[in-house]
């Protein structure tokens, strides 16, 4: 929310007072001096005037020379100066100073009158209960004095602006308000529409709530170069006293079926500090989740997390709604929306275990309950004896652990159990590191007698991948696994709300379930979490130690992420909880799903945004990589766009020069509703694969967000374009100000300066001051 200037009313009055004083003293308003240039028409030759200046000073000196000895030298100097000032002023008057101004020839130039017709203009804060659009209508009414004065000097052309500019005859309220405000595009289109006509400026009546311009400052500079100043008139209030609004919603664009979806809702409020209201998540009319929130102080932005589940697959639109207060000015901005694709996919996870352990079997069982995960496991049952489970065919992992990128990169996550580093070749360890950093895969190491430091992972590529240290400060290894240690898992502040440890959607319920979790036995000591890692849970030994060992932590590594779970005893959350308690199953579901979340596919397709307003163009971007996740720059990509009405439109993609393996296409939707896009990728005539995405075209309430009148933006637009900013109350000099421009059809106008009141004041003032000083010093 743009901060409302609490001192604005006082500031505006002060500026007006200063302007009036300036005009009184200097005869004209400051803008006249800004636009004009100083010139002289001397009544005497310049040489004579140049000689007269030192002569006047000499005369004043000689007149006071005889007072030497009567008054001090300093007093004599002051009296001399005061005597010289009137003489110099007279000389200045004889130089006949004038202000030269370029002034348009009436009716020879044009002014474009553009008024904002976006949705934010419906807000009723323009004073007197009027909406902003009604205020515009009042200002542009034929009987309006500013408009009449403007019309007397210029030929007016009217435009209605929102996303772009539309030429109209006079003020015409639109049948449908614009969903967005793009002043940059609007000004460009106005200028283009006016063509080569002598345009003296653009009068822009708007609230300045621009939400689409890419670089309005640059656009203003271009207008300045063309000598087309912009005169914005700010409509509406820059200080909305009471309003709560959803500023932003952050939600994943894709989730697996039956996932718990976590969204972050950013809320701003004014006038409701400390008040409580409800934040709900809706799908259509169904409320999926609801929680009470406490609003922050004015201009404080708070983010709330809300977790919810939904049924079914495909594109889902969720609305995040804040219950409005009765006296809220803009209830339309209490909603935010997110489009989430729920996919019935089965990302593959590879789990390599070094020995038969209970965690292995119990994790497999938990994963088997989740139909949207494919857990493929490789169990070393004895030396040289590997047992594969979950493989699609006998060929998968036939050679054991993958030896090359295509074989490993088909998985989205990798889990290592109690298996020593020496089981892998160095190339395989490097491959695992690249799997995380380069491919963007998820990685998890479990506790065990052959894990972490005890597994010999120090001084290997995986030491950097792990979010925990394996060596102490002086390089010594960490202690062996504490096999007998009994402890409880204690969540950190991050852990209470992180998706991995989210056993229940409600935060309080989640905390209670974790506090009731069964104790565990055995953990791997580490050298602590790395600086960039986040600790989600610690080992609570109940000893009251200042720093508990790390139990669960993660970090980003390259394009992927890595997790450390330093125990192997989590199966006890199954055997020591009642059979109907699904804590253990949910823990693994959350862990495994988080490991594969956002891990990129070989072929991807996304729209720039998930939601577009009618009339906006949609940019689609595709990326293609081979099995080793190297970018493909020679693919042919074509998409089939399925419209809400069921039509299918073919859309070819072009390779983007600036990014490896990237392709783009632009599409202009002509219907409102949900669009499904499926892209096919070909290489050397053979189909490589497909990728899908979706987006939504709907009336947007974006205009109601950050909708306070943005005086700062409009002032900047005026300054950079060479224009001037006005409010709706001070338009009395608008026509005159616009007249003084060196553009359009202009003439030179002279304004005398010799008769400024300040001249007489200086003249009289210096004579009075000299008389007073003489009397004080006893002179006649």
């Amino acid at each position: 929310m743009p901060p409302g200037p609490l001192a604005a009313p006082c500031g505006a009055c002060g500026r007006m007072a200063m302007t009036a004083l300036f005009e009184f003293l200097f005869k004209y308003r400051p803008i006249i001096y800004e636009k004009g240039s100083l010139a002289f028409h001397p009544v005497l030759p310049w040489l004579w005037l140049a000689a007269a200046v030192p002569a006047a000073v000499l005369l004043a000196y000689l007149l006071y020379r005889r007072t030497r000895g009567i008054v001090s030298g300093r007093t004599r100097a002051v009296l001399t100066a005061l005597r010289a000032v009137p003489l110099l002023v007279l000389l200045a008057v004889l130089m006949q100073p004038v202000l030269l101004l370029h002034s348009v020839i009436p009716q020879k130039s044009f002014v474009a009158v553009a008024y904002d017709a976006s949705r934010s203009m419906e807000i009723r804060d323009a004073g007197g209960g009027r909406s902003r659009m009604e205020e515009v209508a009042r200002l542009l009414d034929a009987s309006s004095r500013p408009l009449a004065e403007l019309g007397a000097r210029f030929q007016l052309r009217f435009f209605r602006v929102a996303h772009g500019a539309e030429r109209v005859e006079g003020f015409q309220p639109p049948a449908r308000r614009g969903n967005v405000t793009d002043l940059e595009t609007a000004l460009e289109q106005v200028t283009a529409e006016m063509g080569n006509a002598p345009l003296s400026g653009i009068l822009l009546l708007t609230d300045g709530a621009d939400n689409r311009s890419r670089d309005l400052d640059a656009a203003a500079e271009r207008l300045r170069a063309k000598r087309i100043p912009v005169y914005p008139v700010g409509i509406g209030s820059s200080d909305i006293a009471r309003d709560a609004e959803v500023l932003r919603v952050g939600a994943p664009r894709r989730v697996l079926k039956n996932a718990l979806i976590e969204a972050e809702v950013t809320v701003g409020a004014r006038g409701y500090a400390g008040r409580r209201t409800r934040l709900s998540v809706k799908q259509g009319e169904s409320v999926l989740q609801s929680r009470e929130i406490t609003l922050g102080a004015d201009d404080e932005v708070k983010t709330y997390k809300v977790t919810f589940a939904c049924e079914g697959t495909g594109p889902k639109v969720f609305t995040f709604h804040i219950e409005p207060f009765g006296d809220e000015l803009i209830p339309e901005n209490n909603d935010g929306q997110a489009l989430v694709r729920v996919e019935d996919a089965q990302p593959k996870i590879l789990y390599v275990e070094g020995e038969p352990r209970w965690i292995y079997g119990f994790m497999r069982r938990a994963a088997a309950e989740d139909k949207n995960l494919a857990l493929i496991t490789l169990l070393r049952q004895a030396e040289g004896k590997l047992y594969r489970q979950g493989v699609e065919s006998g060929e998968v992992l036939k050679r054991g652990f993958p030896l090359d990128k295509p074989e490993l990169y088909r998985f989205k996550a990798l889990i290592l159990g109690s298996i020593e580093a020496s089981f892998f070749s160095f190339d395989q360890l490097r491959l695992i590191s690249d799997f995380v950093s380069e491919r963007g895969g998820g990685f998890l190491m479990l506790g065990g007698r052959n894990s972490f430091g005890q597994g010999g992972y120090a001084n290997t590529p995986l030491e950097d991948v792990l979010p925990v240290g394996l060596r102490g400060d002086s390089g010594e290894g960490v202690a062996p696994m504490e096999r007998e240690a009994q402890f409880r898992a204690r969540l950190t502040g991050y852990g209470l709300s992180h998706p991995i440890t989210r056993i229940a959607a409600d935060e309080q319920e989640n905390r209670k379930r974790w506090e009731a979790a069964a104790p565990l036995v055995g953990y791997n000591p580490t050298a602590g979490a790395k600086p960039g890692a986040t600790v989600l849970a610690t080992v609570d030994l109940g000893s009251g130690a200042a720093a508990d060992p790390v139990l669960l932590a993660f970090q980003r590594f390259g394009r992927g992420r890595s997790v450390a779970l330093t125990t192997d005893a989590v199966w006890r959350w199954r055997m020591e909880h009642e059979s109907r308690d699904n804590f253990h199953e949910l823990f693994w579901k959350q862990m495994l799903r988080w490991l594969v979340a956002d891990v990129p596919d070989q072929l991807t397709l996304e729209s720039e945004r998930h939601s577009y307003a009618p009339g906006e163009g949609v940019t689609l971007r595709a990326e293609a990589r081979d099995e080793a996740f190297l970018s493909l720059n020679d693919a042919q990509v074509t998409a089939a766009v399925r419209t809400p009405s069921g039509r299918t439109i073919s859309l070819p993609f072009a390779w983007e020069l600036r990014k490896e393996g990237a392709y783009a296409a632009r599409f202009m939707p002509d219907e409102e509703g949900l669009y499904e896009v499926t892209a096919e990728f070909f290489r050397e005539g053979k189909k490589v694969g497909t990728a899908s995405t979706g987006f939504r075209v709907a009336d947007s309430f974006e205009e109601y967000h950050a909708a306070a009148m943005n005086a700062g933006l409009l002032r900047r637009l005026a300054e950079r374009s060479g224009g001037r900013y006005y409010t709706a109350r001070d338009l009395s000099h608008l026509a005159e100000d616009i007249s003084y421009v060196d553009s359009g059809s202009a003439r030179i106008e002279e304004k005398d300066l010799w008769d400024m009141p300040v001249v007489y004041l200086v003249l009289v003032g210096s004579m009075v001051a000299e008389w007073i000083l003489r009397k004080r010093k006893g002179l006649a």
């Binding site: 070094g354 020995e355 038969p356 352990r357 209970w358 292995y360 079997g361 119990f362 497999r364 069982r365 088997a368 309950e369 496991t377 169990l379 070393r380 049952q381 004895a382 030396e383 047992y387 489970q389 007698r449 096999r483 007998e484 036995v521 055995g522 199966w571 006890r572 199954r574 055997m575 020591e576 909880h577 009642e578 059979s579």
Partner: protein, 270 residues
């Protein structure tokens, strides 16, 4: 004590049986909550004796029917069968196994610390309500029950009656030859009948009672996980116990070790 088959005097057998009958009257089968020493046997190892290891062989202590024909109870073959089997696990796999077995009643909460439990002579179960509910919860949470050494239709009937108290809606099925439990570690082509040591050494038949045909049956949960493995008309425990007896046919011990290890590997991997 190792005795060659021909050295067992008949009179001693009669005397042993008589002693067993007397002892069973004086010292009834262990009831709920008791893991105390069985009469005439060495005391059960203290619970804390086994250091923390991934796998501990646990023998279930249960309420039995008492003397019935030959004396059969939870401690049949214990502790030698257990310890011989443990040696086999340690030698033939890389499963980290505790040196000593544990004996835990079904009703003891400690049983939930061990997802694999062995129960012998299940044809002599006489489970209390507490044992039934505890065993049910154990299996539903993910535990695995290995049943062994019970013979004939009468013992089957008793076992089935009790197991259906534990799992009322369960289906008891003969496991097909391609079931993972027969192939997850060793490949076991067929179910064979392992006789008790006496029959193995001295008789030309391998069955007991009317248990002519050996069966390997199972009960699976709703997800298809085998949670109860039932070895009926066969005696794996004796094969473990007497594997070191030179006269005990190796094929029986081999089968017994293979199936036992397969069951553990299955329980830890499925």
């Amino acid at each position: 004590m190792l005795l060659k088959a021909r050295e067992l005097p008949t009179g001693s057998i009669v005397a042993a049986c008589a002693a067993a009958v007397i002892m069973s009257v004086l010292f009834p089968a262990a009831g709920p909550g008791s893991s105390a020493a069985a009469p005439g046997r060495a005391g059960a190892p203290p619970r804390s004796a086994a250091a923390q290891r991934e796998f501990t062989f646990v023998r279930a202590v249960y309420n039995g029917l008492g003397p019935w024909g030959y004396y059969k109870a939870w401690y049949t073959d214990w502790p030698k069968a257990d310890r011989q089997f443990i040696l086999g696990i340690q030698r033939l796999t890389n499963i980290e196994t505790a040196e000593r077995e544990k004996t835990i009643p079904f009703t003891d909460a400690e049983i939930f610390h061990y997802p694999f439990v062995y129960s012998v002579e299940v044809g002599h179960w006489n489970l209390s309500e507490d044992e039934v509910s505890s065993l049910r919860e154990y299996l539903q949470r993910g535990g695995f029950l290995f049943c062994d050494d019970f013979w004939g239709s009468r013992e089957w009937e008793n076992f089935e009656r009790h197991i259906r108290r534990v799992l009322p809606d369960c289906r008891i099925e003969d496991l097909p030859p391609d079931h993972p439990v027969f192939h997850c570690y060793y490949d076991i082509p067929a179910v064979i009948q392992v006789p008790n040591v006496g029959n193995a050494l001295y008789q030309n038949y391998t069955f007991e009672e009317d248990g002519i045909v050996p069966h390997c049956r199972g009960i699976s949960d709703a997800g298809g996980r085998l949670m109860v493995l039932i070895n009926w008309n066969t005696d794996l425990g004796d094969a473990w116990e007497w594997a070191d007896l030179p006269g005990f046919p190796a094929k029986y011990s081999t089968y017994a070790y293979e199936l036992g290890i397969n069951a553990i590997v299955y329980a830890m991997s499925h």
